[in-house]
């Protein structure tokens, strides 16, 4: 297998590939948002529901489940906006709660940002920071590192099938 630092993006119809340099940049941007807002919790997910990053106070919520719901929530909201002619890039949903407010924001075409802040944080301030962060995240993911090579799992189809089967057999209780 080749070095992931020297990998190329996979031009699949959907999805994204994150390289270590992009991952570090995302961490830096999210930490910045965490400090500036300040936020209690931040979750970044890929548009199909897969977690990319999570920072801050984790409640007992299953983050994987939360991620799928956050993405579903934004997807439904985007579609409502399209149907009612109100769609624009970087959609944002605000949900006000008794102690905290949560934001779900579109971060470019591939990512969704979930941010929970205390009610003491002014809404306008939080909205401004989240919009800015969303744009920065979208820029990071759209810029592919230059020093990239080729991805290859390096396995024959037969070997791959055996490995997948073994993987499932080991977790299946029957």
């Amino acid at each position: 297998m080749t070095n992931p630092e020297m990998q190329s993006p996979i031009n699949l119809p959907s999805g994204i590939t994150l390289y270590p340099s992009q991952d570090k940049a995302i961490d830096r941007i999210l930490n910045d948002l965490m400090q500036k807002s300040p936020a209690e919790f931040i979750l970044l997910a890929e548009a199909s529901g897969q977690i990319l990053a999570a920072l801050g106070e984790r409640t007992t919520a299953d983050l994987v489940a939360l991620s799928s719901l956050v993405v579903g929530d934004l997807a439904a909201s985007q579609e409502i906006a399209r149907l009612t002619g109100q769609y624009q890039n970087y959609q944002l949903i605000l949900r006000e709660g008794p102690q905290t407010n949560t934001f779900i924001a579109e971060a470019g075409a591939h990512m969704v940002l979930f941010v929970r802040v205390s009610r003491e944080v002014p809404l306008g301030w939080a909205r401004l920071l989240i919009h800015e962060t969303s744009r920065q995240l979208a820029d990071i993911v759209s810029a592919v590192p230059e020093d990239v090579g080729k991805l290859d799992l390096g396995l024959s189809e037969e070997t791959l099938s055996t490995l997948v089967d073994d993987g499932f057999d080991s977790i299946w209780k029957g």
Binding site: D23, S48, L153
Partner: protein, 197 residues
């Protein structure tokens, strides 16, 4: 699909699609019940008061490493009822593979055909030709009196090249085979795409 080289994760999305009451949610419930809890998430279900899928069901599985990458499989179902067409399209977004759960009873031939056409049209709207996407046909409810055999259902849906698996999802029969077959297809597809990227 999403690859995170920092975490060495390969994230894949598989969608269970098909007509209303064909057994999509039952597949996920069976998988949830039969997979070691250490390797799966909670089952998330957004249902109506009548216990029908409103938006989607969701379950994540984690396999052991393949060439130093950990595959995480995200399973979704769509709501089958015809008026949830917009929701189905949303859930399909970003899918790496589809399990088409057909109802094998003879009365459901039209419902299967309509659901298949619906799937084709949604994928086309994403510029994703259906012949490029890994798809497995699960012929569910094979225990019903007069159930159509898988080759017959394949013929009706014009799916000569698609693997067809007989199933009785309520009893767990065929559920595991379906899951393994689609995952093999998706991972092979990802590797193939990567080789020509």
């Amino acid at each position: 699909m999403q690859i995170n080289w920092q975490l060495r994760e390969l994230n894949l999305k598989i969608v269970y699609y098909g007509p209303a009451l064909s057994g999509k949610t039952t597949n996920l419930e069976q998988i949830h019940a039969r997979v070691d809890p250490a390797h799966r998430s909670d089952l998330v279900s957004l249902k109506t008061h009548e216990d029908r899928t409103l938006y989607f069901d969701f379950l994540q599985l984690e396999l052991g490493k393949i060439n130093n990458l950990t595959p995480k499989i995200h399973l979704y179902t769509v709501p089958g009822q015809s008026y949830y067409e917009a929701s189905r399209r949303l859930v399909l977004r970003g899918a790496d593979g589809v399990v088409f759960v057909a109802d094998s009873s003879p009365e459901c031939v039209n419902a299967n055909m309509m659901a298949w056409q619906d799937l084709e049209s949604h994928l086309a709207s994403f510029d994703m030709p259906i012949e490029r996407l890994p798809i497995v046909l699960q012929c569910n409810k094979q225990d019903l009196m007069g159930a159509l055999p898988p080759p017959h259902i394949k013929q009706i849906l014009h799916l000569a090249a698609v693997p067809a698996i007989p199933a009785v999802a309520m009893q767990g029969d065929g559920v595991f085979d379906t899951l393994k077959t689609i995952t093999r297809g998706v991972i092979a597809y990802v590797q193939h795409q990567a080789a020509f990227a």
